[in-house]
């Protein structure tokens, strides 16, 4: 790194420009990652937070994709799943999107607020939501906030008045805050009464889920796999991931182009170093070290700036902006940036290896 460091210092302007590009792209990628994770949470947290390892869906019809909106499991299948070998617990959940309104508190003054919510209905006493009972619901904090109600208040859920037993958790499903309710209070729309949307399973390793699926006409997925059954999640996530991949590709290309031009420009100096005995390994280490230094500084600044912006979003917009500021959403994009940047810079290494030290004799500088 003897020459690399001195080059960085000497050609400050050029490297600062390139560093700024790396910084900005990193910032974009990190912000986009935070937003992607935030949106994903808003779509899926109610599912990922379920105390389960697998979800059972009804098998989709030929040529149809598996979806929460299409799945319907009859009570008999629900019961049979509970007795499958290796299944520790099988808790049916009936999911429905509907509207709820804060229709009045104990004092009788209704907030009148209404909001779109995701109702997760379970049999009273279900392990998934133990505090739920007939006419007693549990609201996620966001549901409580948008309906402007608190524990003890009443809300109207599909024509029925129910009491808010508790406000707990911040689960969301398909961008709607979750209300846990008893099956009797579930919206009757859509599913046949008594049917569940999915069964949340906890299993031991030995469970033969495929055989049970075959026998019962169901399709069992891990919780992570089941997220693809949330339509709004797959479409959003797909386009956001595509943007991220494009940004990564752009950064690799830009960095590759920069280092290629830079290396060609200093091929005369590379020839001199070779002529005085520098091995190719020495020169490659020098060149890659330079790229790594530039990338490390650029991504560090970009990540710092993005987390500052993320923290500001948190402070001023609260939960209104779906944005997750966590170590994985910060470090993963930075690591990928550095890695792809190095891949880009590696393209220029071909020039380093191909320079003929003989040219050092002729070139004047």
């Amino acid at each position: 790194m003897f020459v690399a460091i001195r080059d960085l210092r000497h050609a400050k302007g050029r490297f600062a420009l390139m560093g700024a590009v790396v910084t900005l792209i990193t910032m974009l990628v990190v912000l986009l990652s935070g937003l992607t994770a935030g949106l994903a949470r808003g779509n899926t947290s109610a599912i990922t937070d379920l105390p389960a390892d697998h979800l059972v869906f009804s098998a989709p019809a030929e040529g149809q994709k598996l979806a929460f909106t299409e799945s319907s499991i009859t009570p008999s299948v629900q019961q049979e799943w509970a007795s499958v070998d290796g299944v520790v617990s099988a808790d049916p959940v009936r999911i429905a999107m509907t509207r709820a309104s804060g229709s009045g508190s104990g004092s009788g003054s209704g907030s009148g607020r209404s909001a779109a919510v995701a109702v997760f209905a379970v049999p009273a006493g279900s392990a998934l939501a133990p505090r739920v009972g007939t006419d007693r619901v549990v609201l996620s904090s966001k549901a409580a906030a948008s309906l402007e109600v608190a524990a003890g208040d009443q809300i109207e859920l599909t024509g029925q008045l129910v009491t808010v037993e508790a406000v707990s958790g911040d689960d969301e499903f398909s961008h709607a805050p979750v209300i846990w309710a008893a099956t009797e209070n579930a919206p009757s729309s859509g599913l046949t009464p008594g049917n569940a949307t999915v069964i949340a399973l906890t299993t031991t390793g030995g469970a033969d889920l495929a055989a049970a699926d075959q026998a019962l006409g169901t399709r069992t997925l891990t919780v992570a796999e089941s997220l693809s059954g949330i339509g709004s999640y797959t479409s959003e996530n797909g386009s956001l991931q595509l943007m991220r991949v494009l940004l990564f590709a752009i950064s690799a290309l830009v960095i590759g182009a920069f280092f290629t031009v830079w290396t060609v420009q200093r091929s005369g100096e590379i020839a001199i170093l070779k002529a005085v005995g520098a091995s190719t390994g020495y020169l490659l280490k020098d060149a890659l070290g330079q790229a790594l230094a530039l990338l490390a500084i650029g991504t560090a600044l970009g990540t710092a700036a993005a987390s500052a912006i993320g923290a500001a979003i948190r402070a001023f917009a609260g939960t209104a902006v779906p944005f997750v500021l966590a170590l994985p959403t910060l470090l993963f994009p930075s690591a990928v940036m550095i890695l792809l940047g190095l891949v880009g810079a590696a393209v220029s290494l071909r020039t380093v290896t191909s320079v003929d030290p003989l040219t050092a004799l002729g070139s004047a500088r």
Binding site: F2, V3, R6, D7, R9, H10, A11, G268, E269, I272, L273, K274, A275, V276, G277, A278, S279, T280, Y282, P357, L358, A360, L361, G362, S363, A364, R365
Partner: protein, 240 residues
């Protein structure tokens, strides 16, 4: 180390044909001697140095350094040979733009994996020998042409070579500096038992040389063997 160039022929691609830069050239240079190479422009002087410096592999012939044939070495091995035993002073001062005069010398030590702090003393000594201590922290763009050339000479000595190849070291220097540089080369050659081969245009330099070789069109026109030859004789011989 004895340099022994044995029947070397070197051609460069020249359109469809090949241009013969060296045509069956042989010479021997012993440790502690200064060999001068003279000849008109384009006669192959720099090419001969490039062959001796392992920077180019000849079409045929052998380049023996202490009995080892450099023409048979791989790229990695020639780099090692240059790093460890060969000092090269280019015809045009070939310096790295981002390095100070001192760093131009230190990078040689760094390439060889030597301790930089220990090398600093040696580098300052060499800069002192070429009269450049005040310019140690200057970059090439801040140095005059002659100063750059002197840095190049000091750099060529930095790896404590046993074979020193110098291409017109005084072309950008005034008479006084030129003589000083020549005296330095002469002194180093004797003191450190260097095998020095120097290309020059300046016939006054021939007086200090132990042997003079004249190249014309890639062929050796006159081979004057050092010990027996008086400077005057060489001058006559080289002009024929």
């Amino acid at each position: 180390m004895t340099l022994h160039i044995d029947d070397v022929t070197l051609t460069y691609p020249d359109g469809e044909q090949r241009l013969t830069a060296l045509d069956h050239v042989s010479l021997t240079a012993e440790p502690g001697t200064l060999t001068a190479i003279v000849g008109p422009s384009g006669s192959g002087k720099s090419s001969l140095l490039a062959v001796a410096a392992t920077l180019i592999t000849p079409d045929s012939g052998r380049v023996l350094l202490n009995g080892r044939d450099l023409a048979q070495l791989s790229r990695t091995e020639t780099a090692k040979a240059r790093r460890e035993g060969i000092g090269i002073v280019f015809q045009t001062s070939n310096l790295l733009a981002s390095l100070t005069a001192l760093d131009q010398l230190l990078v040689i030590a760094h390439i060889a994996g030597r301790d930089i702090d220990a090398a600093r003393i040696q580098a300052m000594d060499l800069l002192g020998a070429v009269g450049l201590v005040p310019q140690a922290d200057k970059r090439p763009s801040q140095l005059s042409g002659g100063q750059r050339q002197r840095v190049t000479i000091a750099r060529g000595l930095m790896n404590q070579p046993s074979l020193l190849l110098v291409d017109e070291p005084t072309s950008a220097l005034d008479r006084h500096r030129g003589e000083a540089v020549l005296d330095l080369l002469r002194e180093l050659t004797t003191d450190r038992n260097l095998t020095t081969v120097m290309v020059t245009h300046d016939h006054e330099h021939l007086a200090t040389a132990d042997a003079v070789i004249e190249l014309t069109d890639g062929r050796i026109a006159t081979l004057a063997d050092g010990d027996a030859v008086e400077p005057g004789v060489v001058a006559i011989a080289s002009t024929r």
